[in-house]
Amino acid sequence: MLRFVLFRLMQMIFIMTGLSMVVFLIFFATPGIDPAANIAGRGASEEVLAAVRESFGLDRPLPIQYLSMMKRMLIDQDLTSFSNRSYQVLPAILNSLPVTFSVAFGTAVIWVSVSIAFGTAAALTRGKLTDKLLMTIGLIGISMPVFWVASVANLFTQHRYQDSWLFSWVPPLGYVPLSEDPGSWALHLIIPWITGSILYIGLYSRLLRSSLVEVYHEDFIRTARAKGLSETRILFRHALRTAMLPFVSLLGLDLGALIAGNTLIVELLFGLPGLGMLTFRALQSLDLPFMMTTIMYGSFFVVLLNTLVDLLYAFLDPRVKDARRN
């Protein structure tokens, strides 16, 4: 197990390094892009551009620029924004993380619990009305763009039915920290959570249904029935445990991507100042150090969660662990 963990850690470092290079190349080496022109503003003279290049170290060779940026990001931790050099990147990211964690956490809780319920119910009523209804909901769920669902949610909860009993409890858009007022924190986030989880509920309930249906054809389920186990026990102890494997392995990827910035649209439309909104602001102003760091942080969570899921996988499915030991 220790060797496996060490191997995964090495792989993590490798992927993070590769990723930082890809991001750096996208922003600094795309043909036609000139960070100096962006900092200096429109119509800057050649002298100004040269001065900017020198001041920001943009005249040095790309590998040196890359290494010095990584050093400032990871070792000195004093990387500053290009547009405002007293604006430090790291504190801004640390301040926005709780918002993104709040959004992602609630979304994940809703998506995992609802899709387990939907997927199991659909698999158990296979071919019947409940199954068809749930799978239709799932199909529509995966077919709606999040920004549109969020717009419609705002239309209904903030305007159209704001006065009715149904949505009068919905507070105006914005964010309240958990430490300040937990009740208000949750109230502000319920609609964003539901909006963000619809797509994933669709994906995961469909996935769980199909893997459950498959598992119920397996021999060990027949054996369990022959042993005289109750249907409930077969479902929870045998079928669901096996059927959850693909569910769990995808969960790591999607949860990581969610924290990394897939909450961007939800944050923008519901006015939540998280990592996604920070990334988007940086992208809009082409603030390269900011973008590099937010994307690096985001992908760190993707890779980290992937590793954790692999470990969990080994725990759920003993065959994986055995295979790795050999």
Partner: protein
């Protein structure tokens, strides 16, 4: 996956049990066309494509407006009265103007945008771009995923190591962020490649970006399948009788990998469509003067509360199209799944 006629010849019993012995392709097509949901999806998609193709006819003869020109002082006849398309606000303080709401008639069916343009006509025109971008982007994804997956899986060794590690890195980059980053650095820029030039407002830029970011998700299963075929007995046999590698690749491997691409095709179109609309909504996708369903929703965002149909209608167009694509995708996936044998 050898053809089923071969196995039927070797096992006479099987041949007598199976009434018609067909190849895997004919079997799959037969399975698809037997599903009512596939027929519905194909018909609705054909209707959507036909409707967007008929956009000029709609604009000319039904809505009788130019959906690309601003018409701030236009008037239309409604219930025997001539009304302004952009009306002064009468409620509240009576400040500003508000575009006409849905008439549910031929002109301004779902209302006008803030520039006096017919939103329904714009949806039909925008649909052309949305469908075109999703279709071409998917083609790019499939072709390059096939190339990458085949090279990595068939040649193995250093080629495989480099390509899979590269895919690992891109895999850790959330698709949406990658697409956003690429869009931001390319937006408003024209590219001169000597032989041809891409204009800054060209829809080729979002097409390329969406096409590229989806490659790893298809290349991985292609690689896995290629490895499986390469290690199969019939490939070993082919090598044994001295068939050259390129022939094995073309005759044995490619036909066995193609079903993966076909299974991925409808859902990749669906994913590309959602991605395009999201980028366009963030104003980093399709650029003016071109429009797509995503840009129409963005343009009408200020009218969300006062004229919701200008946002609801283009969104429903996306949802309807993507639902049909996913429905088709489900049927195609099941049709190519060798485990689903019950009806053949």
């Amino acid at each position: 996956m050898t053809t089923s006629s071969d196995s039927a010849a070797r096992h006479p019993d099987a041949a007598s049990r199976v009434t018609v012995s067909r190849g895997p392709w004919a079997t799959a097509v037969g399975r698809i066309l037997r599903q009512p949901s596939a027929i519905i999806a194909l018909v609705v998609l054909a209707l959507i494509i036909a409707a967007t193709a008929a956009a000029p006819i709609y604009a000319e003869y039904v809505s009788r407006t130019n959906p690309f020109a601003t018409a701030l002082s236009a008037k239309i006849w409604l219930d025997g009265q001539e009304v302004l398309v952009i009306q002064p606000v009468t409620e509240g303080l009576g400040l500003g103007t508000i575009p006409i709401g849905p008439t549910w008639g031929p002109q301004y069916l779902v209302g006008s945008d803030s520039l006096g343009r017919d939103v329904m006509a714009r949806i039909l025109y925008g649909g052309q771009n949305s469908l075109f971008i999703a279709g071409i982007a998917t083609t790019i994804s499939l072709v390059f995923a096939l190339l990458v997956g085949l090279c990595a899986g068939f040649f193995g060794g250093i080629v495989d190591t480099v390509l899979t590690r590269l895919l690992d890195v891109v895999w850790a980059f959330p698709v949406f962020l990658l697409a956003t980053s690429l869009s931001v650095v390319t937006i408003g820029r024209s590219f001169d490649f000597g032989l041809f030039e891409i204009r800054a407002d060209s829809i080729i830029i979002p097409v390329l970006i969406i096409g590229i970011v989806n490659i790893p998700y298809i290349a991985r299963p292609v690689r896995a399948q290629t490895i499986q075929v390469r290690q199969s007995e019939f490939v070993t046999a082919a090598r044994g009788i001295g068939v050259p590698s390129w022939r094995i690749l073309l005759i044995d491997v490619v036909p066995n990998v193609l079903p993966i691409l076909i299974v991925f095709a409808p859902i990749t179109v669906a994913i590309s469509m959602i991605l395009e609309s999201s980028l366009s909504f963030l104003s980093i996708g399709v650029q003016a003067p071109e429009s797509s369903w995503g840009t129409i929703i963005r343009e009408n965002q200020p009218l969300l509360y006062s004229r919701p149909w200008t946002t609801l209608a283009p969104g429903l167009a996306i949802v309807l199209t993507v639902v049909m694509l996913n429905l088709l995708g489900d049927v195609v996936r099941d049709a190519f799944d060798p485990r689903m044998k019950q009806e053949d």
